[in-house]
């Protein structure tokens, strides 16, 4: 699976993931405290400059932000109709600023760095006995590993429908897909335990 991370050596790439995540949290808090469309526009422009400094190219930059910008526009129109242009402007500028800052963090932080950071953040929870921090990375790896297998199985089930002249329906597709996939859980779990990956207590 392709990630949204882009290799590079910009200022943001060099910052630690923790700094970036904390920074993003602070930025979002501040954005929600500001109620002036003018200042929020400046913030959005600043975010735009940071995002542009990553040099993703116009096309890439647009493709990444398109779905969220479209949602923001629809919701802003909705706000315009019910609350007037002032509130609509706040929605557009605040959310656009937030979106570009967030997209900049995503583009400059590799999934591996994220997983390491999340694992470290989970350490206090491990001490409380809530989770095993190492399980987080393992589970994320498992998901990425098995998505292609499931897509392959989906194709096979669809072909089986076609071969028998049956129409593809959500139920006849989902049920065998789920059962066939989950039936592997026992063997995968045994393979993990047999290799002593999760130390048993």
């Amino acid at each position: 699976m392709k990630t949204l991370y882009v290799e590079g050596d910009t200022f943001l790439h060099r910052l630690s993931p923790r700094t970036k995540l904390l920074g993003l949290a602070v930025v979002s808090l501040v954005l929600f405290l500001i109620h002036s469309p003018a200042i929020l526009s400046v913030a959005a422009a600043l975010g735009g400059i940071v995002y542009a400094s990553l040099r993703l190219g116009w096309r890439q930059s647009w493709l990444r932000l398109r779905p969220i910008l479209l949602t923001i526009v629809v919701v802003a129109l909705f706000t315009l109709v019910f609350n007037g242009w002032h509130d609509a402007l706040i929605v557009v500028t605040r959310l656009t600023a937030l979106a570009v800052f967030a997209a900049a963090v995503t583009a400059t932080t590799s999934t591996g760095d994220f997983i390491d950071e999340i694992t470290r953040l989970a350490m206090p929870l491990e001490r409380l006995g809530l989770v095993r921090a190492a399980d987080i990375g393992l589970s994320i790896g498992l998901v990425i590993r098995f998505v292609p297998e499931i897509l392959g199985r989906y194709q096979a089930i669809r072909d089986a429908h076609r071969a028998r002249g049956l129409k593809v329906r959500p139920l006849t597709l989902a049920v065998p897909l789920i059962i066939l996939t989950l039936k592997n859980a026992d063997e995968i779990a045994a393979a993990i335990d047999a290799r002593g990956v999760r130390a048993q207590k």
């Binding site: 990630t3 399980d135 897909l177 989950l182």
Partner: protein, 187 residues
């Protein structure tokens, strides 16, 4: 959590991701394509129960957060959580937990089929429709400042589709329970 629980949750998260990558499926009786990812969230609760189902959805959200384009239409990354509709997305976790908890309470293997389907339907309706839409509406109203009533009106157009998904989740949940039972029972 046992290794098996961990693997079941991870496999279900992978199913939810895969459901976002396949083209929308047409229903037989009405000409509406079903985007299957939110159906997957209800299924996680109905099939795996509250704990494992909730963990499966949490994994999907984690994948989104770390920059993998795992949502339908190739969406992903932290910006997704900056969307005005992020309440629905974060609501998925609570939807799966509530659907799972209710399924464990309402349904057990000794019941008649129709009782099981009704139980699963109510569970998916409570979690996947009531809880998820409530969180979505709250966040949308907060973000736009339009008030809950207006946000609720905007939300209504998505309710029929999700009720339909709850129905499909109920039928699928019952079929999986017959074929490969996994749901724990809560007295």
């Amino acid at each position: 959590m046992t290794t098996r629980d961990l693997v079941l949750a991870a496999l279900f998260a992978a199913i939810i991701v895969a459901l976002g990558l396949v083209p929308p499926i047409m229903l037989g009786f009405i000409p509406v394509p079903i985007t299957a990812q939110s159906l997957g969230v209800m299924l996680a609760g109905v099939i795996l129960g509250a704990r494992r189902g909730g963990f499966a959805v949490l994994l999907v959200l984690l994948l989104v957060a770390i920059g993998l384009p795992v949502l339908s239409g190739g969406r992903g990354g932290l910006a997704t959580f900056a969307s005005p509709t992020a309440g629905y997305l974060v609501g998925w976790f609570f939807a799966a937990v509530v659907t799972g908890y209710c399924s464990e309470r309402f349904v057990d293997r000794s019941q008649a089929g129709i009782v099981q389907i009704t139980g699963f339907f109510l569970a998916a309706l409570l979690g996947g429709v009531v809880v998820d839409h409530a969180l979505g509406i709250f966040y949308l109203a907060y973000i736009t400042g339009t008030g809950l009533a207006t946000a609720f009106i905007g939300d209504l157009s998505f309710v029929p589709g999700d009720v339909l998904k709850a129905m499909i989740a109920a039928l699928a949940g019952r079929a999986v329970m017959v074929g490969y039972p996994l749901l724990p029972h809560r007295a």
